[in-house]
Subunit: 303 residues, 2 copies
């Protein structure tokens, strides 16, 4: 079975504004065997493009380096404008463990890449999310605050030395954020009540920021079309805080408020394992080895 | 996303007894783009080999034909001996829906293949399992009874005309069984009782053969090492009879007999969907679209 990492680098250029630069990046994204460009989005207003790539850890790390190098060649940040905030030609490089890889391995990838793009390209970088060297750097927006134009000054502040490189940006490529994070699962649970306050109270109990589950972000909303209240969640690490744990907690809290769970929604993509872990829990499946026993895992990465 | 079918053809030859014939079949198995030889097992005592292949429906149907043709060229059943019962050079060809394919589509594949190997190779065939034309032919062992040597006489019996071809075997390649079936999930549920009779009573209630769930085969056993009773099941169609349905039924029956479910086991491989369907049930996940929302499904079959 193959180890797979997802990488979603963001570049400060767009097909709409500079087709040659965009095409050069697409070519590089397709240049490393063992890595697939899964999706490419480009936005002229943002003057930004986002690639989604999947591949072996080695291939992904290599293609991320080559893309950073190419972006430094074809993008000049001193001439870049766009609505989206940005600080570098390669603005941000997230690594997401996808199969048979831990987030710790992705953290190591981000650190090796940061060192290499400094050594070979003289582009400094911040480590963010699970790779962050301080809690203040976990949040990408905090790292990027000041943007390309404000970065020379920011890097001179005592607490904002780059994690790799000197306290000055690359003159045309700026600075890059590199980090590892778990895939996100958007999970909403709907309640048999029209009282949105119940959903808000439950959300407050379960979200990490107010004392609940560490990897759960939660808000209470009203679903106007159905006339019922919803606990809307972003599960930012389904292994640290499994879906069935928050679901059971919401069930118990709903009962406390005289209501119950009507149904739930998984919004968009989820890793299979986030769901399979729930099946394992509810079926009390003993010693279940997801990676060896799930047939499809043996098919991914086959030639 | 790719449509995928698994095919597990069995041939009456082995690397141990005839390496040239075995190698010729391996070469053919690797000859069709869009299809991968996933596993090849060979047994000298059985004088038999079993290939596991995965690919698009079209590629799998084509490779199954080419393999049948090659087997007829390199295997002479009049000289074949081996411990495993067999009736043809290509003894049996099962098609199993693996991704985004229905078992009905696999039944159609089996019928087209049966027609083609008669038209082009003059090898007759029986359809078995979900492809069977009569209930008596669902069971492979019933089709194969009499083996190669007894088949000329068997085919003259009124009820044993081949599904494709005339009432006589191919002189050296015999006759082949072709069929579609769902993947099997081996699922055991363990009870907090040392009384094996409880497991046997529950097994009788839930198995299709005695009036229970159509696609569930079940027996009651004693787990000697743990001193507890087990309901041991083969789930032969996890879509027709989902795992959570039998699990909930066993829970209810266990309570009736004054005991409860300690834990369960999934033995060997399972399709991800058999587990994801359980998560969907227990989380009450509304409108969950497994094939579009499970990230890994988008990775299978990618180049």
């Amino acid at each position: 079975m193959a180890k797979l990492v997802e990488c979603i680098p963001n570049f400060s250029c767009s097909r709409e504004k500079d087709e040659a630069a965009y095409n050069a990046l697409v070519d590089v994204a397709n240049s490393v065997p063992g890595c697939t460009l899964f999706d490419a989005q480009t936005d002229g207003n943002h003057n930004r493009c986002v690639f989604t790539m999947i591949g072996s850890p080695e291939a992904i790390e290599e293609v991320a380096f080559r893309l950073t190098k190419k972006a430094a060649e074809v993008i000049d940040m001193t001439k870049h404008t766009g609505e989206h905030s940005r600080m570098g030609a390669t603005d941000v490089i997230p690594f997401v463990p996808t199969m048979d890889v831990t987030v710790e391995e992705c953290v190591e990838m981000s650190k090796r890449l940061g060192q290499r793009i400094w050594d070979e390209l003289k582009i400094p970088s911040f480590l963010y999310e699970d790779s962050a060297s301080t809690p203040a750097r976990q949040n990408l927006a905090a790292c990027r605050k000041g943007q390309f134009e404000g970065m020379p000054e920011k890097l001179l502040q005592p607490e904002w030395a780059p994690d790799f490189g000197e306290r000055k940006i690359h003159p045309t490529a700026g600075i890059t954020a590199i980090g590892a994070r778990m895939p996100l699962v958007a999970f909403n649970v709907n309640l048999a009540t029209a009282d949105v306050e119940v959903a808000k109270k439950i959300a407050k109990v379960i979200r990490g920021s107010s004392g609940g589950f560490k990897y759960c972000k939660a808000m209470g909303f009203m679903l106007e079309d159905r006339g019922i209240a919803q606990v809307s969640m972003n599960m930012v690490n389904y292994e640290g805080t499994p879906l069935y744990v928050v679901y059971e907690q919401i069930k118990a809290l709903a009962e406390r408020y005289g209501t119950y769970v009507v149904d739930s929604e998984i919004v968009g993509l989820t890793p299979a394992k986030a769901m399979i872990d729930c099946a394992e829990f509810y079926l009390k499946a003993k010693d279940f080895d997801c990676h060896n026993q799930i047939m499809e895992y043996h098919l991914i990465g086959m030639e």
